[in-house]
Symmetry: C2
Subunit: 459 residues, 2 copies
């Protein structure tokens, strides 16, 4: 047997103990957004420091104005990797929708097999422990890790990461590595492992259209008085054409066509857009015509309306002409689309739509470019092969519709790319009641990292 | 001196006592919408019954499932007229915005002269008392009224008049007259008396557009998932053209052109649309191009958006794709526009805008045709001359942007037209804190009715 086979065998044998450790961590109520749970967050950070020390890491808890960071170094030679995860979890309300206490982890049988049920089981305690268990196995079997590993565990990921950027900047030298490993994403489906390589950027703008100095009676003023809802509806309605394309001038500047080989890969996935939409009561992809649902989410930019309000919105009728109406507009960006340029284009368009007497106010929100990671490096290729070996299904380079800000920070502040590998499933109910992580995800996730570590060391 | 001169002189001399009587009525907290004030409404009804008896009327309080009606008959010969007013008032909150207690009436000096400050001073206690004081003066001076007068005072006008239609139907024979007199409207301006002869009809529809079975994450679903706000914006934006005309097929069917002589009258008013809009921070008439602001309000139909809501509307951003979005749409109707036909047209249009996966639900509200009263009858001509004489400014036949349902009921159930004369001013703050009625309105209003009664008797 190879060394790796021994490591994998050790992982299999050690599963009961590995679960005990994960359960210890899951019992800590490390909700970061609520100061009442600050001590629980510190407890989780301390537990991780101790566990890392038991693996031979030099581990330190770094207090911040918010929740502590945990940083650890294995030292040693070989490729230098930074592993990132977060030990904080989402709040648990509505508590009454949980079938069991969220911080009393338990193995449950389900039609899909056994699952670990607890807040944080998937996001992100179960995921980060897959990496630590892989390290533990390597250490137990060989006495050393296959690479020089630095660990960063954050405790504020679920509450906007207020301490993260200053911490990365202050500890840039200590945290810099050749490649970051991020375990906070998911599988493509139950059997197909994925490396997320495309994340969309984001840009939000709240648009408030104002006319009269107060709400008016539509009998007395209906006709001559400008109606902000009408103006806002015209603004929003003018932002897409009948083909689902965004009409904002310059919107598609910098949007690269999907490389043919990636498109071929994605087509080979046989992603069932209808089934995907069917889960939420829809059927027909409503986005840009000429693109599959998968392409629309993973590779195309969007402009969406997230909220709208104006006038009387209670029961029954009040025939007011409102003084103002407001909409929240957001864009998901890809390739080289520039959020600042697009914010300016949106504002210029809005202003071109304003009739006499109507003014507009804006509230900007966010503004981040898309991230596209190179997939043709030896590391990505090696990781893909390792995942494929473990799952016996070819690992895919996937896109993600949303954003994972840490990846942008690592690139910008620490100058390194991120390998995003995770074992979550779409139905893990992260951020919702009854979160779970499949036992298979935990077990094969651990085995996957054991393989990836060896593969990267050799890459 | 003529008999009328004696009556007018009596009114002038009796002003202090007339004010005392009005103040007695204003002290009653006859808020109809709140059951806690039911006894106060009954007190006001009883007070009116007693006052009418003192004028020689045969007066009766009729209890209803809601607040009482007061019906009274003068008997006698001459033209048979029905006078309508309402003794109930709007609630007073927010009480803290009143400069003095709303049910402790007081004369206040203002830059425009003295005003009666109290809830109901203008709407409608002060107005209805102008008519009773005119009757009192006729009775005091001549021993009789110049016409056969029936009185109907309602106590539910400010709470939707739930008992009105059944009451009118049950007492149709008793209430039928040659002409109704309604004192619940206003002057054109401080110096120009008006007879309201055009009221717009109304039609409301709440449109709720639904797509996914729940709110979605715009990262995960943005693109392929239908967005109800986007669909709703397209629906609303398609309802007006760039000239401000409503594009709904058939919308202008039955809309009559304004007769040339009425247009000439209105043009002669030199109504300052810019000043009218200036009061509420606007300047440029936003309605149908080619029509003045006055024509837009008095003679043209409108389609307005009174409220809209969907998705996340709190502080900051949530990048949801909402499951639904909803708008309240209302139309003001003129001439022969048919509300039921237009509701069907609106729904057909909405359905023509729905893409795949999107459904719609409606909640209808109201639905009344416009009222246009004939102005070329001897009664209207006589009343106009009487008002002109009193105010030394030519009385106008005015339109109203809103609706006064009683006028439609009188026509439909009792088969008679209504002469709408009132002395309110735009700044009377009816329905708002610090309601007032100008002392001049009360005094010259009383004199106006004294003149109108004689003029109608002779017409």
């Amino acid at each position: 047997m190879s060394q790796l086979d021994d490591v994998l065998a050790h992982i299999d044998a050690d599963q009961p103990q590995a679960l005990e450790r994960l359960f210890d961590l899951l019992r800590m109520e490390s909700i970061s957004t609520d100061p009442a749970y600050a001590a629980e967050c510190e407890k989780a950070a301390d537990w991780l420091v101790e566990d890392l020390k038991s693996l031979g890491f030099e581990a330190t808890r770094h207090d911040t104005p918010g929740r502590p960071m945990v940083v650890a170094h294995s030292g040693g030679s070989g490729k230098h990797l930074l592993f990132y995860g977060h030990y904080d979890v989402q709040p648990v309300d509505p508590l009454e929708l949980w079938t069991r206490p969220p911080f009393e982890p338990m193995i449950e049988d389900t039609p899909h097999g056994q699952v670990i049920r607890a807040r944080g089981a998937s996001d992100d305690k179960g995921q980060l422990m897959t990496f630590l268990e892989a390290c533990r196995a390597w250490k137990a079997v060989t006495g050393a890790l296959p690479a020089n590993i630095t660990i960063l565990f954050e405790g504020e990921e679920e509450s906007g990461s207020p301490s993260l950027i200053p911490f990365l900047e202050a500890h840039a030298e200590e945290l810099k590595a050749e490649l970051a490993l991020v375990c906070d994403t998911g599988m493509l489906d139950r059997d197909t492992p994925a490396i997320a390589t495309r994340l969309r950027g984001m840009l939000g703008e709240q648009i408030t259209v104002k006319a009269a100095s107060k709400d008016l009676h539509s009998g007395a003023f209906g006709g001559p008085a400008a109606n902000p809802i009408r103006v806002l509806a015209k603004i929003l309605a003018g932002l897409h054409d009948t083909e689902g394309r965004v009409t904002l001038p310059g919107f598609y500047d910098g949007v690269a066509d999907l490389p043919a080989e990636i498109k071929a890969q994605w087509d080979a996935l046989n992603f069932d857009g209808e089934a995907f939409l069917g889960e939420v009561g829809l059927k027909v992809p409503a986005g840009e015509q000429g693109y599959s649902a998968l392409e629309q989410i993973w590779s195309r930019p969007t402009l969406e309306f997230n909220g709208i309000i104006g006038g009387y919105t209670g029961e029954g009728f009040k025939t007011v002409l409102p003084a103002q109406a407001s909409a929240k507009v957001s864009m998901r960006l890809v390739s080289q689309q520039d959020p600042m340029t697009l914010r300016a284009a949106l504002r210029a368009y809005v202003e071109s739509c304003l009739p006499a007497d109507v003014t507009v106010e804006y509230k900007p929100h966010g503004g981040s470019m898309a991230t596209e990671l190179p997939t043709d490096t030896p590391e990505f290729t090696a990781a893909q092969a390792a995942l494929t070996e473990e799952w016996a299904t070819e690992a895919v380079f996937s896109g993600m519709g949303g954003s994972i800000p840490i990846v942008g920070h690592f690139r910008k502040i620490l100058g390194m790319n991120s390998l995003m590998v995770g074992f979550g499933l779409d139905d893990d109910q992260i951020h919702s009641p009854n979160e779970k992580y499949e036992l298979r995800s935990f077990h094969k996730g651990t085995r996957s990292w054991a393989r990836i570590l060896e593969a990267l060391a050799k890459a």
